[in-house]
Protein backbone atom coordinates (compact mmCIF):
# COMPACT_ATOMS: atom_id res chain seq x y z
CA UNK A 1 0.00 0.00 0.00
CA UNK A 2 1.41 3.36 -0.98
CA UNK A 3 0.79 6.36 1.16
CA UNK A 4 0.30 8.77 -1.66
CA UNK A 5 -1.42 12.05 -1.26
CA UNK A 6 -4.40 11.90 -3.49
CA UNK A 7 -6.90 14.67 -3.35
CA UNK A 8 -9.42 12.33 -4.91
CA UNK A 9 -9.49 9.24 -2.78
CA UNK A 10 -7.72 8.34 0.39
CA UNK A 11 -6.49 4.79 0.81
CA UNK A 12 -9.33 2.73 2.21
CA UNK A 13 -9.58 1.70 5.83
CA UNK A 14 -8.28 3.26 8.98
CA UNK A 15 -5.51 0.77 9.73
CA UNK A 16 -2.71 1.75 7.40
CA UNK A 17 0.49 -0.05 8.32
CA UNK A 18 2.09 0.88 5.01
CA UNK A 19 1.40 4.53 5.51
CA UNK A 20 2.56 4.48 9.08
CA UNK A 21 5.88 2.96 8.05
CA UNK A 22 6.26 5.56 5.35
CA UNK A 23 5.56 8.31 7.87
CA UNK A 24 8.07 6.92 10.31
CA UNK A 25 10.67 6.79 7.58
CA UNK A 26 9.98 10.38 6.70
CA UNK A 27 10.38 11.42 10.30
CA UNK A 28 13.87 9.85 10.23
CA UNK A 29 13.21 6.93 12.54
CA UNK A 30 15.11 4.06 11.03
CA UNK A 31 14.66 0.67 12.68
CA UNK A 32 17.74 -0.17 14.77
CA UNK A 33 19.44 3.11 14.00
CA UNK A 34 18.72 4.74 17.30
CA UNK A 35 20.65 2.33 19.57
CA UNK A 36 23.81 2.41 17.52
CA UNK A 37 23.91 6.17 17.22
CA UNK A 38 23.18 7.36 20.72
CA UNK A 39 26.65 7.25 22.45
CA UNK A 40 28.05 9.57 19.80
CA UNK A 41 25.11 11.88 20.22
CA UNK A 42 25.56 12.22 24.00
CA UNK A 43 27.59 15.47 24.11
CA UNK A 44 25.27 17.01 21.57
CA UNK A 45 22.29 15.94 23.64
CA UNK A 46 23.66 17.71 26.73
CA UNK A 47 24.36 20.80 24.66
CA UNK A 48 20.82 20.80 23.30
CA UNK A 49 19.41 20.21 26.77
CA UNK A 50 21.36 23.23 27.99
CA UNK A 51 19.82 25.37 25.27
CA UNK A 52 16.39 24.03 26.06
CA UNK A 53 16.74 24.99 29.74
CA UNK A 54 17.57 28.58 28.84
CA UNK A 55 13.99 29.17 27.72
CA UNK A 56 13.57 31.13 24.53
CA UNK A 57 12.09 34.58 25.06
CA UNK A 58 9.81 35.41 22.16
CA UNK A 59 9.76 39.01 20.92
CA UNK A 60 6.64 40.92 21.93
CA UNK A 61 3.89 42.70 20.06
CA UNK A 62 2.96 46.28 21.02
CA UNK A 63 0.47 44.96 23.58
CA UNK A 64 3.08 42.74 25.22
CA UNK A 65 2.05 39.35 23.84
CA UNK A 66 4.51 36.88 22.28
CA UNK A 67 4.87 37.80 18.62
CA UNK A 68 3.76 34.87 16.45
CA UNK A 69 3.49 36.94 13.29
CA UNK A 70 4.99 35.87 10.01
CA UNK A 71 4.68 33.18 7.38
CA UNK A 72 4.85 29.65 8.79
CA UNK A 73 4.67 26.20 7.32
CA UNK A 74 4.59 22.65 8.59
CA UNK A 75 7.19 20.44 6.94
CA UNK A 76 5.75 16.99 7.35
CA UNK A 77 3.32 14.60 5.74
CA UNK A 78 0.68 14.67 8.48
CA UNK A 79 -2.00 15.82 6.04
CA UNK A 80 -1.61 12.39 4.43
CA UNK A 81 -1.46 10.47 7.68
CA UNK A 82 -1.85 12.29 10.96
CA UNK A 83 -0.39 9.41 12.97
CA UNK A 84 3.03 10.72 11.87
CA UNK A 85 2.72 13.54 14.43
CA UNK A 86 0.49 11.74 16.94
CA UNK A 87 1.87 10.88 20.33
CA UNK A 88 2.94 7.22 20.11
CA UNK A 89 1.85 7.27 16.46
CA UNK A 90 -1.41 5.66 17.50
CA UNK A 91 -4.96 6.94 17.42
CA UNK A 92 -7.10 5.42 20.20
CA UNK A 93 -10.16 4.44 18.18
CA UNK A 94 -13.24 3.00 19.78
CA UNK A 95 -14.20 -0.24 17.98
CA UNK A 96 -17.59 1.21 17.01
CA UNK A 97 -15.91 4.23 15.48
CA UNK A 98 -13.65 2.03 13.35
CA UNK A 99 -16.70 0.19 12.10
CA UNK A 100 -18.45 3.49 11.33
CA UNK A 101 -15.41 4.57 9.40
CA UNK A 102 -15.32 1.44 7.26
CA UNK A 103 -18.90 2.05 6.17
CA UNK A 104 -18.52 5.75 5.52
CA UNK A 105 -17.94 7.69 2.32
CA UNK A 106 -14.52 6.81 0.90
CA UNK A 107 -13.74 10.10 -0.78
CA UNK A 108 -11.55 12.59 1.03
CA UNK A 109 -13.72 15.71 1.46
CA UNK A 110 -10.94 17.98 0.24
CA UNK A 111 -11.18 16.25 -3.16
CA UNK A 112 -14.37 18.30 -3.55
CA UNK A 113 -12.45 21.40 -2.52
CA UNK A 114 -14.08 21.26 0.89
CA UNK A 115 -12.35 23.08 3.72
CA UNK A 116 -10.00 20.77 5.61
CA UNK A 117 -11.22 21.61 9.12
CA UNK A 118 -9.24 21.92 12.35
CA UNK A 119 -6.69 20.58 13.10
CA UNK A 120 -6.00 19.44 9.50
CA UNK A 121 -5.70 23.00 8.17
CA UNK A 122 -2.73 23.49 10.51
CA UNK A 123 -0.70 20.71 8.89
CA UNK A 124 -1.82 21.05 5.28
CA UNK A 125 1.52 21.32 3.48
CA UNK A 126 1.07 24.97 2.53
CA UNK A 127 2.26 28.21 4.15
CA UNK A 128 0.06 30.42 6.30
CA UNK A 129 0.46 33.85 7.80
CA UNK A 130 -0.28 34.84 11.39
CA UNK A 131 -1.38 38.42 12.08
CA UNK A 132 -1.85 39.84 15.56
CA UNK A 133 -3.85 42.88 16.63
CA UNK A 134 -4.76 43.69 20.24
CA UNK A 135 -7.28 41.06 21.31
CA UNK A 136 -7.19 39.22 17.99
CA UNK A 137 -5.10 36.59 16.22
CA UNK A 138 -5.72 36.06 12.52
CA UNK A 139 -4.64 33.01 10.53
CA UNK A 140 -4.56 33.46 6.76
CA UNK A 141 -3.95 30.11 5.11
CA UNK A 142 -2.75 29.91 1.55
CA UNK A 143 -4.56 26.57 1.25
CA UNK A 144 -7.97 27.38 -0.30
CA UNK A 145 -7.73 30.89 1.10
CA UNK A 146 -9.03 29.67 4.44
CA UNK A 147 -9.06 32.22 7.23
CA UNK A 148 -9.59 32.20 10.97
CA UNK A 149 -10.13 35.45 12.85
CA UNK A 150 -9.90 34.55 16.52
CA UNK A 151 -10.66 36.72 19.53
CA UNK A 152 -8.31 36.31 22.49
CA UNK A 153 -10.98 37.76 24.79
CA UNK A 154 -12.98 34.96 26.36
CA UNK A 155 -16.52 34.38 25.10
CA UNK A 156 -18.75 31.32 25.19
CA UNK A 157 -18.75 29.09 22.10
CA UNK A 158 -21.62 29.60 19.66
CA UNK A 159 -24.32 27.02 20.06
CA UNK A 160 -26.30 24.92 17.62
CA UNK A 161 -24.16 25.66 14.59
CA UNK A 162 -21.23 23.97 12.90
CA UNK A 163 -18.42 25.16 10.69
CA UNK A 164 -15.66 23.41 8.75
CA UNK A 165 -13.10 25.39 10.71
CA UNK A 166 -15.19 25.33 13.86
CA UNK A 167 -15.74 28.08 16.38
CA UNK A 168 -12.42 29.21 17.82
CA UNK A 169 -11.90 31.11 21.07
CA UNK A 170 -8.36 31.87 22.20
CA UNK A 171 -6.52 32.95 25.31
CA UNK A 172 -2.89 33.29 26.38
CA UNK A 173 -1.41 30.90 28.93
CA UNK A 174 1.94 32.48 29.70
CA UNK A 175 3.72 32.59 26.35
CA UNK A 176 1.42 30.05 24.72
CA UNK A 177 -1.53 30.91 22.53
CA UNK A 178 -4.28 28.42 23.37
CA UNK A 179 -7.19 28.06 20.95
CA UNK A 180 -10.27 26.13 21.96
CA UNK A 181 -12.18 24.85 18.94
CA UNK A 182 -15.66 23.31 18.93
CA UNK A 183 -18.67 23.28 16.54
CA UNK A 184 -16.58 21.38 14.00
CA UNK A 185 -19.25 19.11 12.53
CA UNK A 186 -18.48 15.62 11.22
CA UNK A 187 -17.79 16.45 7.56
CA UNK A 188 -14.02 16.79 7.73
CA UNK A 189 -11.27 14.19 7.99
CA UNK A 190 -8.02 14.46 9.91
CA UNK A 191 -5.97 13.33 6.87
CA UNK A 192 -6.13 11.58 3.50
CA UNK A 193 -5.69 8.23 5.26
CA UNK A 194 -9.33 8.48 6.30
CA UNK A 195 -8.85 9.13 9.98
CA UNK A 196 -12.22 10.64 10.82
CA UNK A 197 -14.10 12.10 13.76
CA UNK A 198 -17.67 12.80 14.85
CA UNK A 199 -19.49 16.05 15.51
CA UNK A 200 -18.37 15.77 19.14
CA UNK A 201 -14.82 16.73 18.17
CA UNK A 202 -13.15 19.19 20.51
CA UNK A 203 -9.68 20.45 19.66
CA UNK A 204 -7.39 22.54 21.84
CA UNK A 205 -4.49 23.98 19.89
CA UNK A 206 -1.37 25.41 21.51
CA UNK A 207 1.14 27.66 19.71
CA UNK A 208 4.44 28.42 21.47
CA UNK A 209 7.38 30.30 19.96
CA UNK A 210 10.46 28.19 20.57
CA UNK A 211 12.98 30.14 18.52
CA UNK A 212 13.35 32.93 15.99
CA UNK A 213 12.16 30.61 13.24
CA UNK A 214 10.06 28.01 15.01
CA UNK A 215 6.73 27.59 16.71
CA UNK A 216 5.84 24.39 18.50
CA UNK A 217 2.31 23.38 17.62
CA UNK A 218 0.45 21.00 19.87
CA UNK A 219 -3.18 19.95 19.80
CA UNK A 220 -5.30 17.80 22.04
CA UNK A 221 -7.97 15.94 20.09
CA UNK A 222 -10.97 14.78 22.04
CA UNK A 223 -14.05 13.08 20.67
CA UNK A 224 -15.80 10.69 23.04
CA UNK A 225 -17.87 9.26 20.18
CA UNK A 226 -14.73 8.23 18.28
CA UNK A 227 -11.71 7.85 20.55
CA UNK A 228 -11.34 6.04 23.87
CA UNK A 229 -9.44 9.02 25.28
CA UNK A 230 -8.12 12.39 24.24
CA UNK A 231 -4.88 12.18 22.23
CA UNK A 232 -2.20 14.61 21.21
CA UNK A 233 -0.39 15.75 18.11
CA UNK A 234 2.78 17.81 18.11
CA UNK A 235 4.92 19.31 15.36
CA UNK A 236 7.21 22.25 14.68
CA UNK A 237 6.10 25.07 12.42
CA UNK A 238 8.92 26.65 10.45
CA UNK A 239 9.19 30.27 9.41
CA UNK A 240 9.48 30.79 5.69
CA UNK A 241 12.58 32.96 5.32
CA UNK A 242 12.78 33.08 1.53
CA UNK A 243 13.42 36.70 0.55
CA UNK A 244 10.34 38.30 -0.94
CA UNK A 245 8.13 35.31 -0.16
CA UNK A 246 4.47 36.28 -0.13
CA UNK A 247 1.32 34.22 0.13
CA UNK A 248 -0.47 33.75 -3.16
CA UNK A 249 -3.94 32.77 -4.21
CA UNK A 250 -4.41 29.04 -3.87
CA UNK A 251 -7.59 28.01 -5.61
CA UNK A 252 -9.12 24.61 -5.93
CA UNK A 253 -11.39 23.32 -8.63
CA UNK A 254 -12.70 19.84 -9.18
CA UNK A 255 -11.02 18.26 -12.19
CA UNK A 256 -12.76 16.04 -14.71
CA UNK A 257 -10.95 12.99 -13.31
CA UNK A 258 -12.38 13.65 -9.86
CA UNK A 259 -9.14 15.03 -8.50
CA UNK A 260 -8.85 18.50 -7.12
CA UNK A 261 -6.78 20.91 -9.18
CA UNK A 262 -4.52 23.45 -7.50
CA UNK A 263 -3.33 25.70 -10.29
CA UNK A 264 -0.39 27.19 -8.43
CA UNK A 265 1.24 23.89 -7.59
CA UNK A 266 2.48 20.96 -9.60
CA UNK A 267 4.03 17.67 -8.51
CA UNK A 268 7.76 17.70 -7.88
CA UNK A 269 10.12 16.56 -10.66
CA UNK A 270 11.40 13.69 -8.53
CA UNK A 271 7.93 12.17 -8.63
CA UNK A 272 7.51 12.21 -4.86
CA UNK A 273 3.74 12.41 -4.45
CA UNK A 274 4.12 14.29 -1.18
CA UNK A 275 6.01 17.16 -2.75
CA UNK A 276 4.58 20.12 -4.57
CA UNK A 277 6.35 22.88 -6.40
CA UNK A 278 4.94 26.36 -6.70
CA UNK A 279 4.49 27.31 -10.30
CA UNK A 280 4.66 31.06 -9.89
CA UNK A 281 8.09 32.63 -10.19
CA UNK A 282 8.83 34.12 -6.78
CA UNK A 283 10.13 31.26 -4.75
CA UNK A 284 10.11 27.49 -4.77
CA UNK A 285 7.38 27.41 -2.20
CA UNK A 286 7.07 25.93 1.20
CA UNK A 287 5.16 22.77 0.48
CA UNK A 288 7.71 20.04 0.91
Amino acid sequence: MRCTYRFSEGPGGAALPGCRRASARRAGRKPGGRLKAWPHMLPLTFLLAGFACAQYQAPRTADGKPDLQGIWEPRNAAAFDVSEIAEGHEIPYLPAALEREQKADRVDPIAHCGMPGVPRISYMPFPFQIVQRPGVVVFLYEYLHNERIISTNPRPHLDGIDFYLGDSVAHWEGDTLVIDVTDLGDKTWLDSARHTHSDALHVVERYTRTGPNTITYEATIDDPKTYSHAWKIKMPLHRNNEPGFELREQECTEGDDGRAIHPLYRPAANGDPLEFVRTYPSGKGGAQ
Binding site: C113, V131, V138, L140, E147, F163, Y164, R248, E251, P281
Partner: protein, 239 residues
Protein backbone atom coordinates in the same frame (compact mmCIF):
# COMPACT_ATOMS: atom_id res chain seq x y z
CA UNK B 1 20.17 50.68 2.55
CA UNK B 2 19.67 51.25 6.26
CA UNK B 3 18.75 54.88 5.70
CA UNK B 4 16.25 53.69 3.12
CA UNK B 5 14.59 51.49 5.71
CA UNK B 6 14.54 54.32 8.23
CA UNK B 7 12.92 56.65 5.72
CA UNK B 8 10.37 53.97 4.90
CA UNK B 9 9.48 53.43 8.53
CA UNK B 10 9.35 57.14 9.39
CA UNK B 11 7.22 57.83 6.32
CA UNK B 12 4.76 55.09 7.13
CA UNK B 13 4.37 55.87 10.84
CA UNK B 14 2.48 59.18 10.47
CA UNK B 15 0.24 57.70 7.77
CA UNK B 16 -0.44 54.69 9.96
CA UNK B 17 -1.16 56.91 12.96
CA UNK B 18 -3.67 58.93 10.92
CA UNK B 19 -5.53 55.93 9.68
CA UNK B 20 -6.63 53.65 12.47
CA UNK B 21 -10.18 54.55 11.42
CA UNK B 22 -10.09 52.04 8.56
CA UNK B 23 -9.88 49.16 11.04
CA UNK B 24 -13.14 47.40 11.78
CA UNK B 25 -16.07 45.54 10.29
CA UNK B 26 -17.50 47.16 7.18
CA UNK B 27 -20.80 46.60 5.44
CA UNK B 28 -21.02 47.94 1.89
CA UNK B 29 -24.24 49.47 0.60
CA UNK B 30 -24.05 48.55 -3.06
CA UNK B 31 -27.52 49.23 -4.45
CA UNK B 32 -27.86 45.74 -5.87
CA UNK B 33 -24.38 45.58 -7.46
CA UNK B 34 -24.03 41.82 -6.93
CA UNK B 35 -26.97 41.37 -9.31
CA UNK B 36 -26.10 44.23 -11.66
CA UNK B 37 -23.73 47.14 -11.31
CA UNK B 38 -26.04 49.16 -13.62
CA UNK B 39 -29.54 50.45 -12.74
CA UNK B 40 -32.01 47.54 -12.67
CA UNK B 41 -35.56 46.70 -11.58
CA UNK B 42 -36.29 44.75 -8.39
CA UNK B 43 -37.14 41.09 -8.54
CA UNK B 44 -37.96 37.93 -6.67
CA UNK B 45 -34.65 37.30 -5.00
CA UNK B 46 -33.33 40.78 -5.31
CA UNK B 47 -35.86 42.54 -3.07
CA UNK B 48 -38.74 44.59 -4.35
CA UNK B 49 -36.91 47.86 -4.87
CA UNK B 50 -35.42 48.89 -8.13
CA UNK B 51 -31.75 49.70 -7.71
CA UNK B 52 -29.42 52.34 -9.06
CA UNK B 53 -26.27 50.23 -9.28
CA UNK B 54 -22.85 51.67 -8.50
CA UNK B 55 -21.42 52.85 -11.83
CA UNK B 56 -20.75 56.57 -12.03
CA UNK B 57 -22.85 57.98 -14.87
CA UNK B 58 -25.02 54.84 -14.91
CA UNK B 59 -23.52 53.46 -18.11
CA UNK B 60 -20.50 51.37 -19.16
CA UNK B 61 -18.26 52.38 -22.08
CA UNK B 62 -18.11 48.96 -23.76
CA UNK B 63 -16.46 48.48 -27.12
CA UNK B 64 -19.10 47.38 -29.67
CA UNK B 65 -18.09 43.67 -29.66
CA UNK B 66 -18.13 43.65 -25.85
CA UNK B 67 -21.58 45.25 -25.68
CA UNK B 68 -22.86 42.42 -27.88
CA UNK B 69 -21.21 39.82 -25.63
CA UNK B 70 -22.83 41.31 -22.51
CA UNK B 71 -26.28 40.92 -24.11
CA UNK B 72 -25.55 37.23 -24.57
CA UNK B 73 -24.01 36.71 -21.12
CA UNK B 74 -27.02 38.38 -19.47
CA UNK B 75 -29.05 35.34 -20.53
CA UNK B 76 -26.69 32.94 -18.75
CA UNK B 77 -26.67 33.73 -15.08
CA UNK B 78 -25.55 30.15 -14.38
CA UNK B 79 -22.13 31.00 -15.78
CA UNK B 80 -21.51 33.35 -12.86
CA UNK B 81 -18.32 31.89 -11.35
CA UNK B 82 -19.31 32.90 -7.82
CA UNK B 83 -22.15 30.38 -8.08
CA UNK B 84 -19.38 27.78 -8.41
CA UNK B 85 -17.58 28.97 -5.29
CA UNK B 86 -14.83 30.85 -7.04
CA UNK B 87 -13.46 34.01 -5.56
CA UNK B 88 -15.48 37.04 -6.67
CA UNK B 89 -12.34 38.91 -7.66
CA UNK B 90 -11.73 42.64 -7.37
CA UNK B 91 -13.86 44.79 -7.28
CA UNK B 92 -16.68 42.20 -7.01
CA UNK B 93 -15.56 40.93 -3.58
CA UNK B 94 -15.89 44.43 -2.18
CA UNK B 95 -19.71 44.35 -2.48
CA UNK B 96 -19.86 42.06 0.57
CA UNK B 97 -19.04 42.62 4.24
CA UNK B 98 -15.43 42.48 5.28
CA UNK B 99 -13.01 43.33 8.04
CA UNK B 100 -9.89 45.49 7.83
CA UNK B 101 -6.69 45.39 9.88
CA UNK B 102 -4.04 48.02 9.25
CA UNK B 103 -0.32 47.61 9.96
CA UNK B 104 2.57 49.66 8.58
CA UNK B 105 3.60 46.86 6.19
CA UNK B 106 0.23 45.41 5.25
CA UNK B 107 -3.47 46.11 5.14
CA UNK B 108 -5.46 42.91 5.61
CA UNK B 109 -8.99 42.57 4.27
CA UNK B 110 -10.92 39.50 5.35
CA UNK B 111 -14.28 38.75 3.77
CA UNK B 112 -16.88 36.38 5.10
CA UNK B 113 -18.14 35.72 1.59
CA UNK B 114 -16.15 32.91 -0.09
CA UNK B 115 -13.81 33.18 2.93
CA UNK B 116 -11.80 35.46 0.70
CA UNK B 117 -8.90 37.33 2.18
CA UNK B 118 -6.55 39.82 0.63
CA UNK B 119 -3.18 41.09 1.77
CA UNK B 120 -2.46 44.58 0.50
CA UNK B 121 1.30 45.00 0.52
CA UNK B 122 2.46 48.53 1.31
CA UNK B 123 5.75 47.86 -0.48
CA UNK B 124 7.11 45.90 -3.42
CA UNK B 125 5.67 45.62 -6.90
CA UNK B 126 3.26 43.38 -8.75
CA UNK B 127 4.77 39.96 -9.49
CA UNK B 128 5.30 39.08 -13.12
CA UNK B 129 3.55 36.15 -14.83
CA UNK B 130 0.99 35.90 -12.07
CA UNK B 131 -2.74 35.85 -12.53
CA UNK B 132 -5.37 35.37 -9.84
CA UNK B 133 -9.03 36.00 -9.07
CA UNK B 134 -8.13 38.57 -6.42
CA UNK B 135 -5.06 39.80 -8.32
CA UNK B 136 -2.10 41.34 -6.56
CA UNK B 137 -2.64 44.43 -4.40
CA UNK B 138 -0.06 47.13 -3.60
CA UNK B 139 -1.16 50.01 -1.39
CA UNK B 140 -0.08 53.49 -0.36
CA UNK B 141 -1.51 56.28 1.76
CA UNK B 142 -2.67 59.48 0.11
CA UNK B 143 -3.38 61.52 3.25
CA UNK B 144 -6.20 59.62 4.95
CA UNK B 145 -7.09 57.73 1.80
CA UNK B 146 -5.83 54.21 1.25
CA UNK B 147 -5.02 53.83 -2.44
CA UNK B 148 -4.68 50.26 -3.71
CA UNK B 149 -3.32 49.35 -7.10
CA UNK B 150 -4.64 45.95 -8.20
CA UNK B 151 -3.11 44.09 -11.14
CA UNK B 152 -2.57 40.44 -12.15
CA UNK B 153 -6.34 39.91 -12.26
CA UNK B 154 -7.56 36.96 -14.30
CA UNK B 155 -10.17 37.14 -17.07
CA UNK B 156 -12.60 34.79 -15.31
CA UNK B 157 -14.08 37.02 -12.63
CA UNK B 158 -17.08 39.19 -13.52
CA UNK B 159 -18.58 42.40 -12.13
CA UNK B 160 -22.00 40.93 -11.34
CA UNK B 161 -24.57 38.28 -12.29
CA UNK B 162 -25.84 40.35 -15.21
CA UNK B 163 -22.96 39.51 -17.54
CA UNK B 164 -20.76 42.56 -17.06
CA UNK B 165 -17.26 41.30 -17.70
CA UNK B 166 -13.65 42.31 -18.23
CA UNK B 167 -10.45 40.87 -19.70
CA UNK B 168 -7.20 39.78 -18.08
CA UNK B 169 -5.81 43.22 -18.95
CA UNK B 170 -7.99 44.88 -16.30
CA UNK B 171 -6.24 47.22 -13.91
CA UNK B 172 -8.10 48.52 -10.85
CA UNK B 173 -7.21 51.44 -8.61
CA UNK B 174 -9.22 51.51 -5.40
CA UNK B 175 -9.55 54.45 -3.02
CA UNK B 176 -10.81 53.96 0.54
CA UNK B 177 -11.58 57.44 1.92
CA UNK B 178 -12.92 57.84 5.47
CA UNK B 179 -15.98 60.13 5.42
CA UNK B 180 -16.52 60.14 9.18
CA UNK B 181 -15.76 57.77 12.06
CA UNK B 182 -18.24 55.17 10.83
CA UNK B 183 -18.31 55.55 7.05
CA UNK B 184 -15.80 55.10 4.25
CA UNK B 185 -16.26 55.93 0.60
CA UNK B 186 -15.08 53.14 -1.70
CA UNK B 187 -14.19 54.12 -5.22
CA UNK B 188 -12.67 51.91 -7.93
CA UNK B 189 -11.35 53.07 -11.26
CA UNK B 190 -11.54 50.28 -13.82
CA UNK B 191 -9.17 50.38 -16.77
CA UNK B 192 -9.39 47.61 -19.34
CA UNK B 193 -8.48 48.81 -22.84
CA UNK B 194 -9.38 45.42 -24.35
CA UNK B 195 -13.04 45.69 -23.34
CA UNK B 196 -13.85 49.34 -22.66
CA UNK B 197 -13.26 52.53 -24.64
CA UNK B 198 -12.11 54.47 -21.57
CA UNK B 199 -11.54 53.97 -17.82
CA UNK B 200 -14.70 54.21 -15.71
CA UNK B 201 -15.52 54.46 -12.01
CA UNK B 202 -17.73 52.73 -9.52
CA UNK B 203 -18.30 53.89 -5.96
CA UNK B 204 -20.37 53.02 -2.93
CA UNK B 205 -20.24 53.65 0.82
CA UNK B 206 -18.97 51.23 3.46
CA UNK B 207 -20.68 51.52 6.83
CA UNK B 208 -19.11 50.43 10.09
CA UNK B 209 -20.83 47.52 11.79
CA UNK B 210 -21.60 48.87 15.26
CA UNK B 211 -22.90 45.70 16.92
CA UNK B 212 -20.86 44.82 19.98
CA UNK B 213 -20.74 41.19 18.89
CA UNK B 214 -19.96 41.90 15.24
CA UNK B 215 -18.13 38.88 13.89
CA UNK B 216 -17.92 37.26 10.51
CA UNK B 217 -18.61 33.57 10.57
CA UNK B 218 -17.99 30.86 8.04
CA UNK B 219 -19.34 30.94 4.50
CA UNK B 220 -20.12 27.35 3.51
CA UNK B 221 -19.99 27.78 -0.20
CA UNK B 222 -19.45 24.25 -1.48
CA UNK B 223 -22.45 22.51 0.15
CA UNK B 224 -24.68 25.52 -0.55
CA UNK B 225 -23.58 25.88 -4.12
CA UNK B 226 -23.69 22.17 -4.96
CA UNK B 227 -27.35 22.16 -4.05
CA UNK B 228 -28.00 25.39 -5.94
CA UNK B 229 -26.12 24.44 -9.09
CA UNK B 230 -26.38 20.64 -9.20
CA UNK B 231 -29.23 19.90 -6.78
CA UNK B 232 -31.76 19.36 -9.57
CA UNK B 233 -29.50 16.68 -11.09
CA UNK B 234 -29.32 14.77 -7.83
CA UNK B 235 -33.10 14.72 -7.46
CA UNK B 236 -33.60 13.45 -11.00
CA UNK B 237 -31.06 10.69 -10.46
CA UNK B 238 -33.05 9.51 -7.44
CA UNK B 239 -36.23 8.97 -9.46
Amino acid sequence: MRIGWLVCILASVPAFAQNPSLEGYWQPRTSGAAYSILPHPGGFFLGAESKTGIVEGGDLPYQPWAAAKVKELTQHMELDPTGHCHYEGIPHAMYFGFQIYVTPQYVFMMHENMHAWRIIYMSGSHPKDYSAWMGDSRGRWDGKTLVVDVADLNDKSVFDMAGHFHSGAMHVVERFTPVDADAVNYEATIDDPKVFTRPWKMSFPLYRRLEKNAQFLEFKCVPFSEELVYGHLRKQAGK
